[in-house]
Structures are given as C-alpha cells and as structure tokens.
C-alpha cells in the first residue's frame, strides 16, 4: 500500500457548481446536473441510469443543489455512477481487484480522498473446479458450468469485500465502483461470458473490451447502482491484468524505452515507451512447460526467501520470512540458492549438482540426486529440506525460457538486451527476487543494478489508479490500442536461443561480464 501515490489530475469524485432552479432558469433536475457535468468534464454525453434519475429530484433539493458525483469518463461519454449531497457523511468508495487465477487481492479505496484504506487477499474459490485456466474453461462446457464458476468468484468477492469494508468501518453499500484486472479467462468467468473459444483455435475471446457493467448484474452485493470496470484484454493470451500493469508502470507515458516483466503463473513481458508497446506472454508451447510457476512454494511465513553460501566453507545460510523455522523455499529463494550453489561451485554450468563439491549433503533418493539445504533438526517439520536435481533442471528451463523471451522480444523491436535503460519486475515474484542472483543464473540480463526496479503488484496498482484518476479509462484505451502482441513461435531460432540459455549464466559468458566464473 505504501507504494501508492496519487498522480496529478482530477479524481472520480466531482462537485459540479449548480445554480438552483428559478422561473428564469427552469431546466429539469437531471438535465441541470448533466449539463453542468458536460461543461465541467468537457464531454458530449452523460449517461444516468433510470434508477438514479428517479432519485435526483429529492436528492438535489435535500442537498440544496450542492452534490458530489462519482464519474466514470470514457472518451466523449461519461457515466454518472452515483450522486450524494456535498455535506453528507456518506463516504464514496471503490474496490480495486487483482483477479488472479490462484489468488485474488482486493483494495478498498476512498474515491474522494483518493487513498487506499485497506488491502486483503484470498484464494480464488474457482480452484475447487480446477487449478488452472484450462481446467476451468473446460468446465464451462458442462451445463451450468459457467454459471457455477461465475457464482464462485462473485461469492468470494462479496464475502471478502464485505469483510474488508467492515474492517475499515465502511458500509459495502457505499462501494460504487469496482475495477478488475484479471487475465482474459478470469475476466470472462467473472463477467459470465462464454469462454470456450478462448482456448480453441483461432483463440477468440467473447470480448476484448467489456465496457462498464452494473455490479448487480454480476451478482455483486455493493451499492445498488455500483458499476464494474473489467480491464480490457488484447487477446486470449494478453489480459487486462497486463494492461493494468502497464497503466501502473507508466510505460506508456515515458519517452525512454523500458521493459516490464510480470512473473506470475506465466511470464509476461512488455517493452516500449509512449510511442509503441510490444508485448508477449510466456505460454510458448511445450518447450516451456512447467515454466515459471513451478519454482518452489508460495511465499509465506517460514519460507526461505534468501540464501547465502560461503564459497570457502560451503556453509548454507538461510533467511526465512518472519524469521520462523524453515518449512519450504519460494521462487526467489530458489533463484538465490541456485546462484549461490553456482558461485560456490556446487553446481556446474548445466545446473548439475557436483558430488565432488557438495560432499555429504548430497544423497540419492529414487535414483535422483538431492542436496540437503536445511537439516531435519533445524527445519519446522523435523524433516530435512532438500533441493533435487529435478528441481534444478526445472529452474534451468524456467530461467532459460525467461531469458529467451526477453531476448526474442527485444530482438524483434531491434534492441539489444543490454541497452535497455530501465528494467522493471512486477508481481510477487519481482518483489522478492534479488536481481544479482537472477543475473548470476542468467535469468535476467546483466544490466547495471540501478536500471532494475521492482514494481510490486502492478495489476492491483493499475486497478487502483482507475479508481483515483479520471483519465484512467482513456489511458487504458490508449494502452490497449498501442499494444502489439508478439506471438512467440517456438521455431528453430527460438529453440536455438533457448538451448543457449540453458547454461549458467549462458553459453556466451560475454553477455554476463558481472558474473564471476567460479
């Protein structure tokens, strides 16, 4: 939450200047308000729902024509989402949603003060149908399947939004706008849109742009007239979560080129500036199967996130989240571990464990080499924590895939990887990763550390921005239209790059001058 700062420009709550009616100025209540808003916002049309129109005459009179309006502005049209008396105690709130396949994160936002009040997350309840996008979409082929999935996520959102609001002393009925950043499939399942064609050639979503939709039509129990903005997607494999990420990063506003890498279930990459944006997603076929997502367990208390190995003694020094006894290792821990193992000479450039160096910590189980990281007596469960050769092989494939994707997309736009002025890493993964270790294993390019920045949960950040910046919908549209999606063809060139990247740091060590060869 601390990484959120309000950008310049107007917010979503506007106080129009209204002159009370008179015999000389007897315009209707609704039109009086709309024409003031049209003038103030510089738009051609204001949409007001019938239900809100019905409430306006009493509201305007009770408020002596001094009101606060929640506005959603898109191009030359704006929607009047809600109106309240200017001096009422009634708060005006919004809900930003990072709608992940695995995890959903919510933020409660004060629309008027443009502040984040609280944040919380919950596991996507659709997991009970299937762990991944594919399983869930297949479930929509069954009768009632789509409705069931839609109901699951809506119930989850209702439950958790209510709890989050309650914790802040806010009435969920005062939440007027919801912004949702999710991948294309999750967005479709929330909207209850047919999703089956997303995963079947030629991979056609039902919608790229969703438009504003009434929360009540989705089943969301918020303000009766609340509206939902689902971030648009570029295609089946480039979702609204990434559009939100770009919005949050500001990539589309910079003169200088930057690259934004989001590592979640997939690895997604966008490179560009305010002139152009080129994007690709890591679902690059069977070569990358098991890709970025299989590295270690989810970060949490007691999970190893930092590893140092003394190159002389080969003593393994670990750090766990909240300093609790270790119970597992997360993605950033695995990258740290691999880098340290490499620097200590305990794995070779192919990532293979070296029995001669590892010594008694190495043992065989089911014919597979395992290295004890934490002995049983020091671990939370009393069992030793190990890394296997299979884990390391998987990491090598993942890091090679990542590097190959980065190499391919920058080559496509005619840039050298090492010339990138800014390299941003998003996602929970990016928050914890140590760039030095990622460079050491050849996962990230060997740039000066000052060029790296971690952006945190950019999807949530983008969803939040859309609740506090009136210009966000226009920017979202601009981003969506600017993005060129690069289909990552697993052709010979890609496979050659991939093979070359399956070494630590690379078959071409000149690319990684900062990495010492042990």
């Amino acid at each position: 939450m601390s990484d959120f700062s309000v950008p310049p420009g107007p917010g979503l709550v506007h106080r129009p200047t209204l002159t009370p009616p008179s015999l000389q100025d007897n315009s209707a209540d609704g039109d009086r308000l709309c024409s003031a808003l049209r003038r103030d916002l510089g738009v051609e049309q204001i949409h007001v729902s019938l239900a809100l129109r019905r409430r306006l005459p009493a509201l305007l009179r009770d408020a002596a024509y001094a009101v606060r309006c929640v506005i959603f502005q898109e191009k030359s049209c704006a929607v009047l989402v809600h109106a309240a008396a200017a001096d009422a105690h009634e708060g005006l709130y919004g809900l930003a949603v990072d709608l992940g396949t695995t995890r959903v994160v919510l933020r409660l936002v004060d629309l008027e003060n443009r502040t984040v009040l609280a944040e919380d997350g919950f596991d996507n309840p659709q997991v009970e149908i299937g762990p991944d996008v594919l399983a869930r979409i297949h479930h929509t082929d069954q009768p009632g399947g789509l409705a069931r999935l839609q109901r699951l996520i809506v119930d989850g959102l209702n439950r958790n939004a209510a709890a989050l609001a309650r914790a802040c002393g806010v009435d969920a009925q005062d939440i007027h706008l919801v912004t949702v950043a999710g991948n294309t499939a999750m967005s479709h399942l929330l909207a209850g849109l047919p999703s089956g064609w997303i995963i079947r050639e030629p991979y056609i979503p039902a919608a790229n742009r969703f438009g504003l939709m009434p929360a009540a039509e989705l089943g969301l129990a918020l303000a009766p007239l609340a509206q939902v903005l689902i971030f648009p997607n570029v295609g089946s494999y480039f979702g609204g979560d990434l559009i939100a990420g770009i919005l949050h990063s500001g990539l589309h506003r910079r003169e200088e080129t930057a690259i934004l890498v989001d590592v979640g279930t997939n690895a997604e990459v966008v490179v560009g500036n305010r002139e152009w944006l080129m994007a690709c997603a890591g679902a690059a076929g069977p070569a990358l199967e098991g890709g970025m997502s299989r590295m270690g367990t989810t970060a949490g208390p007691g999970v190893i996130d930092r590893v140092r190995i003394d190159p002389r003694t080969r003593h393994i020094d670990i750090h766990t989240i909240e300093d609790l006894p270790p119970r597992g290792i997360c993605g950033s821990g695995v990258i740290d571990l691999a880098a340290q193992l490499f620097l200590a000479g305990m794995i070779d450039i192919r990532g293979k464990l070296r029995p001669d160096i590892c010594g008694p910590r190495l043992f065989l189980r089911d014919g597979l080499a395992h290295l004890i990281i934490v002995p049983g007596e020091a671990s939370a469960g009393g069992q030793p924590l190990c890394i296997s050769q299979a884990d390391l092989d998987s990491l090598i494939r993942s890091k090679a895939a990542m590097y190959t994707i980065l190499e391919t997309i920058t080559a496509t736009v005619g840039l050298a990887l090492d010339s990138l002025p800014a390299f941003w890493v998003a996602g929970t993964f990016g928050q914890f990763i140590d760039p030095v270790s990622a460079i050491t294993i050849g996962m990230l390019p060997d740039l000066p550390l000052s060029r790296f920045a971690t952006l945190g949960n950019t999807s949530l950040g983008g969803a939040t921005l859309a609740l506090v910046c009136r210009s966000a919908p226009a920017e979202i549209d601009q981003i969506r239209d600017a993005v060129t999606y690069l289909e990552l063809n697993v052709n010979q060139e890609f496979m050659n790059r991939f093979s070359a990247a399956k070494f630590i740091p690379h078959t071409d060590p000149d690319r990684f001058p900062s990495v010492p060869i042990p």
Copy 2:
C-alpha cells in the same frame, strides 16, 4: 397510417460486414462486431449490454458472422439494442406510442422493412386516478401513488401492445424498441420519475432528456433487452409529444417559415424553420380557463362533425360520423355550427344567440338561452340536441385564446399572422376542422386555403419516424435545443388582444377579408 412515408437515409436495422476470425485476425467477438459498427456508423462508441455480450459468441458462430443489428444512434455513441442472424425468420419490430393524457395510440412498426403494420388506441387507464394531469400529479404525493400510476399505464401498454402484435401475427418478444411521445407529465409518470415539482413553482421536471432506458426496468413485457426512447421535453409545459410533432412535420428542416398548431387538451403552437423554433403552449392562465378542451364531446360514431345552415331558410343540415343518428357534437362540429350560425345571422358578432332570428328553435332553460340543433325525434337518444349560450361563450373564449396565442407568438418573432407561408394543424381536432369555418369565427387567421394543411397525429408520426430513421435521435436533439419556449404572460397587452379577439371574426374585420359580414 396511409400518411406515413419512409424518408430517405438509413433505418435502424444495419447489416455489418464482418470477416470471420482467424489466427491472423483474432479480435474478440464483441469487439469485432463493435468495430465494424463503429466504422459503418461513424461513431466513437458502441454500448452493448452485458446480457447481449453473453449471447454474441454463439450468435455470431451460428450466423456465420452474418447478422442484422438493431441500432439506436445518439451523437457519437450508439447502442446495439439487438442482434439476430441475417437469414433468420425472426422479425425485428418497434412500437411507436402517442402517450396522451386521455388516449394512447400505438403503432406496430417493422424496423427492417420500415413499414407500419398496424395501429390501435386505448383510453389512458390513469383516467381512473384522475382525468387530467393535475389530478394525477397530486396523486403522486400519496405513498405508492407514483408507482400505481406507472403500473396502470405500463399494464395498459403491455395489454394493448400484445393484442396489436397478436393481430399482426407478431410475437411481442420481437419488439426491441419503443418510442414514446407524451407530454412532460405523462412521460414522467411512465418513467416513474418524481412528478410533483412539474406543477409547483418554478415548475421543474425531473428530466428534460430521458435517455434510452431498458423496457424491462419500466415493466414493459417486450423483448427482454428492449429499449425505450421517451421523447425529451423542453419544460413542464412543452413535452415530447410536441417535439415528436415537429419531427414529423419537418418544420426544423424547412427554409421557409411555417406554423404548427396542435390542438389537444391544450393548444400548442410552434413557429419557425430550420434556423429557429419558437413555441408556446396554451396554458395561459385563468383567462383561458376551460380553453380548447371543453368544446363538445370526443369525436366518434354518431357525433356531429359538419353543420350547414341555409342562410335563407335557416334550416340546419348536419352530418354525423359514420352517418349514424346524432348523439352529440364534437369540436369541429361546434366550430362549423358557430360559423354557420354567424353567417346565417343567428348569432351576433359577440356570439350571442339572436332571438329575433333564431325563432322557435330558441328556448330558455335555467335562465339560459338554448338553441335546438337536432329535434328529439331525429336524435339518437330521443332528446333534442342543443347548444346553449354558455357553450357559445366558451367557444368564443377558446377561439379568442387560440387567435391571441397565434397573434402573440408571431408578433414576438416579428411576423404578421397573414404573412405565414404555411399553416399546419395537427391533432385529431386538426384532422376534422374545416379551415373555412375556423377562419369565419376568427379562430384561425384569414390565409389562402392552400396554405393550410392538416398533419393528423403528429406525435404518433414523430414516434414512428424515430423507429425508421437512424438520424431521428440527432434531429430530436437538434429540435429540443432549437426550441425557444415563450412564456405566455397574461399581461395587459395579451388581455387587450384577447378582448379584441372575442368577437366574430374580430373587432378588426379588415383582418378577415374573406369572411362575409352577414
């Protein structure tokens, strides 16, 4: 119905040219359709309801991407109301509604062929609450009053629309768009908008522009996603019925100035051309009380609509609607009668019955002179049909009010009444009125007969146009913005004009050269 001809320009049903998706062109279904529509219609945004978005993927595939779209276009935004396969048998229909205080008239329109299929009317069921606008609006002050009035008219519309559709072999579920032309109060009561402020100083409606609203939200049982356009009003006293009337008349498209007079419950007058429109309504205070509405009974079978009096024999020759035995006299009949009584010398220039000329047909009842028009043996009810001095006094006041309004509005825009190039009379009244008689009594100005035209039910005509012309919403908006509403102040000048007009044809006979002085 025969007076309806389709104007040039596109209708509301559009067949976009869609390319089926491919790996090379994998835009989403909704976006594919919307971008084709944006291109074809030249608009910035297309609104599609969530429910329709959910149906698009299956529809587009079933139709092999050849579809018909029902479009409602307003400025740079359009609403996709419905989409159907291009080759399906499914018809696409609309319902035009003339929402009168007393009578409601419906037309079933084929949106695709742009033809009127049938027309029917029914009495406004809100009459059971109160006969006029005032009584009904007062009823909305009671708890549940507004909802009750709204329900009454919606039920009436549902019942009669279903019957009309059934008579044409049409399923009411295939009616996708409803256009409603009513006065400001009737429009509010249909929309369920608070109406109490319409009749209280400073006379502020809840809405001037209603925007498109979902038929289901009003309770209309048509297509599930049907939309309703209620014509906008200019103010409390200048309603959508008149905007529709102007649209139908084409006043706003002409280079030459014309005047449009609609005589219904009130007398409403618009004068103008494509550059400007000046309007006023006949609710001009107590001087006109009893105004245009109290003349005779409603036209119907057996009602006298034409009267001729032989100036020598003073024999009264009557014509009744459908040639049935006479049972009453309607507005046009009263005007004919008064003109003929005047020309036969049976009333004087003040409209007073002359006992010396009327002879034995004249008798006194309750101290008031009555003239037998039809003797008891010739009437439908066996009782003589009479006209009293009070009826004639009322007619004189009405015709004087009409003339004064015409004189005032033309004077305001700097025109002489006798210089008007075109004089159009709308409404049921206008359909039956004999201009010669109306000129004779000094109700209408003494223009050459060729300048007069009767336009019939212009409100219904305008509502129909909005179902067959894609440009109608833009024109409606243009009309609404162009209209300057002239508040008829009952000041000394107005009263002087009114007093001068309370003679037959006028205190200044030079204004009526065609009227012979008997």
